[in-house]
């Protein structure tokens, strides 16, 4: 009996470790390995020397000093111009996405999900229509947005025209509140416009998770609340939000984590972060694409990982303390 059991255990072990070998190896190489290499590279200056190939030269903490200079002294780095790829605004822009995610996108998404859950008129239509940006490619969304705010053929300038905020279409002498080159070609309006894009297209991302989470809430709780005369607004504040709080926390964590890798709108709409619209993720990507042996960005990545984790864990811990998880 004992022998038979150990044979089964053996078979189990072969099955378990046989099939887990690849995912574990992949994780070790592509997550642990790549992050370790990033950390390692951040202390070196890498150059290509003819005959010797790739040469690593110990650089102390110079890369980290350069990063802090970029961030705090707003200093240009090497041959990159301050208004170009490497820019202190990458940090401020990325960080400005956090309050946007926390206080605009997330509340709007939860409210919209509640509207669908409570079956507002046309809720079936809203469930599909509001989910559309999650289906459509960000390239298409960015192109549509660029076209919608185009000076000559866009809908936004047309609306502004109705309100008398800008002149006739195609009249460069009478642009009103629209910058000469358009909203995405002016340092004052470029980043705010990208934020508008993010609000418009950011509400749908987690809608499906919130609607499904709300659908799992026990009916008896709402029935009791209704018997007690609680309004729908009261039910939302006192029942729905506390009961789905773990989902809100999880989704907030993923949203804030995504801020550090947030790239697409700036990359696609402003020719790669022009007009002070770059972000951390975009800056790193562009530098790597231009010069993959640039180790300043490795140092930047390490700093982002450390401070990003602190921010994310702080938000998660703070949110978990606000409401305790409810079992149902």
């Amino acid at each position: 009996m004992k022998k038979k059991l150990s044979a089964k255990q053996k078979k189990d072990a072969i099955f378990i470790y046989g099939f887990l070998a690849w995912p574990i190896l992949h994780f070790v190489v592509f997550w642990i390995g790549m992050n370790f290499r990033t950390f390692y590279d951040s202390f070196f200056d890498i150059s290509i020397v003819e005959g010797a190939g790739v040469v690593y030269q110990w650089d102390n903490f110079d890369n980290y000093i350069r990063v802090f200079k970029i961030i705090f002294n707003k200093a240009p780095y090497d041959n990159y111009d301050l208004s170009g790829i490497i820019n202190y605004r990458a940090v401020t822009n990325s960080l400005s996405l956090i309050p946007l995610a926390l206080f605009i996108n997330m509340p709007l998404t939860i409210l919209f999900a509640y509207g669908i859950f409570k079956k507002v008129p046309m809720y079936g239509f809203f469930r599909i229509a509001l989910f559309l940006p999650s289906l459509v490619s960000s390239v298409v969304l960015c192109m549509c947005f660029q076209m919608a705010i185009d000076i000559n053929r866009g809908i936004l300038p047309e609306i502004l025209r109705w309100f008398g905020l800008t002149g006739a279409r195609g009249d460069p002498a009478n642009m009103g509140i629209i910058p000469q080159g358009g909203f995405l070609a002016d340092p004052k309006t470029c980043w705010p416009m990208i934020l508008v894009f993010s609000v418009i297209n950011g509400v749908s991302g987690n809608l499906i998770y919130f609607t499904s989470t709300m659908a799992r809430l026990p009916a008896s709780v709402f029935e009791s609340a209704e018997l007690d005369g609680a309004s729908s607004l009261r039910q939302f504040v006192s029942i729905v939000v506390p009961m789905i709080w773990p989902t809100i926390t999880t989704m907030t964590v993923t949203l804030v984590a995504a801020v550090f890798t947030w790239i697409m709108p700036s990359l696609l709409m402003t020719d790669g972060g022009q007009w002070y619209s770059t972000t951390i993720g975009l800056m790193i990507t562009q530098v790597v694409k231009n010069d993959m042996y640039n180790t300043v960005m490795s140092a930047f990545g390490v700093i982002v990982a450390i401070f990003g984790t602190i921010i994310i864990v702080s938000i998660k811990t703070g949110m978990e303390k606000l409401f305790e998880g409810v079992e149902y």
Partner: protein, 291 residues
């Protein structure tokens, strides 16, 4: 699982105000999305001249303009690659990545959910860590690694990166398999089935809804993905990358032609969504996050 009636009971003025504001907000957002897609779709069927004269008209479409715009979109040449080539590249990327995004997390999630072994707890912790720590800096190391492997510009490099089993999909599969009773598997073992046979013939078929949901989400994500091909497939552009190139092409000012290409890219995901919409919604409710 609770089934309930959620119809709004407008019993208080506060509720009326709340739901009116909410309805208006939802309507505004929905109108923006619908308008964008309609503008794109009808714009792809209009002539350039008519479009430039009145960009917001949506009804002066003609068969001739449809043919003209779509012909031009499909005949464009970006460094020797046509729109059809890009669709082909997208298809290769989507099929390969979707298969990997489903199969590897499925078996990883199943094993972690149903078997006891030393690393069980750690794998779940790793999955959470990957979601919490922002590792954008590792792009540099990954880029170098793929370059050193000689897999730059190769689909194999992208497949290699996509072949991870520990991440969000893993968590979804793990949650789903945890909810399936182990008695089914035990019945299989009594009949002499191996671990693999039990997984393939008993457990996996029960996970059909979550497999479809993750496959569809993965399909849409990979079809729309710009970043990966932009970085790793420079000479094999996908449709998402090609679309952006239209802005720098000879059709940069010809919006109807651009709309035609955008409509092609969007139609594919919309069709997939229409066919699998119900399964996705049901799977998210059944195996998704618990609030």
């Amino acid at each position: 699982m609770a089934i309930r009636r959620n119809k709004i009971k407008r019993t208080s003025p506060a509720d009326i105000v709340f739901f009116t504001i909410l309805f208006v907000l939802m309507a505004v957002f929905a109108a923006i999305f619908i308008y964008e897609l309609l503008w794109m779709f009808t714009g792809s069927m209009r002539g350039l001249k008519e479009f430039n004269l009145s960009p917001f008209k949506m009804y002066d479409v003609s068969f001739e303009n449809i043919k003209n715009n779509y012909d031009k979109a499909f005949s464009i040449d970006f460094n020797g690659k046509t729109l059809l080539d890009m669709i082909g590249n997208s298809a290769i990327l989507v099929l390969g990545c979707t298969f990997l995004n489903v199969s590897i997390p499925a078996i990883t999630g199943y094993i972690v959910a149903k078997y006891n072994f030393r690393l069980k707890k750690w794998i779940s912790i790793f999955a959470i860590i990957t979601m919490v720590i922002p590792t954008v800096g590792s792009v540099s190391a990954t880029y170098k690694f793929i370059f050193e492997l000689g897999l730059m510009d190769s689909f194999w490099g992208v497949f290699l990166m996509a072949a991870g089993g520990i991440g969000f999909s893993f968590m979804m599969f793990k949650n789903f398999f945890e909810a399936i009773p182990w008695e089914y598997a035990e019945a299989g073992f009594i009949d002499g089935a191996s671990n693999l046979k039990v997984f393939l013939t008993i457990m996996l078929p029960q996970a059909r809804p979550i497999i479809i949901a993750i496959a569809v989400v993965s399909f849409i994500g990979n079809w729309n993905d710009y970043y990966t091909p932009f970085l790793y497939l420079k000479n094999n552009p996908t449709l998402a990358v090609g679309l952006n190139e239209f802005k720098n092409s000879r059709y940069s000012n010809n919006w109807p032609v651009q709309f035609a290409a955008m409509t092609v890219a969007t139609s594919v995901v919309l069709l997939v969504y229409v066919f699998f919409n119900k399964t996705i919604m049901e799977s998210m409710s059944a195996g998704g996050l618990k609030g």
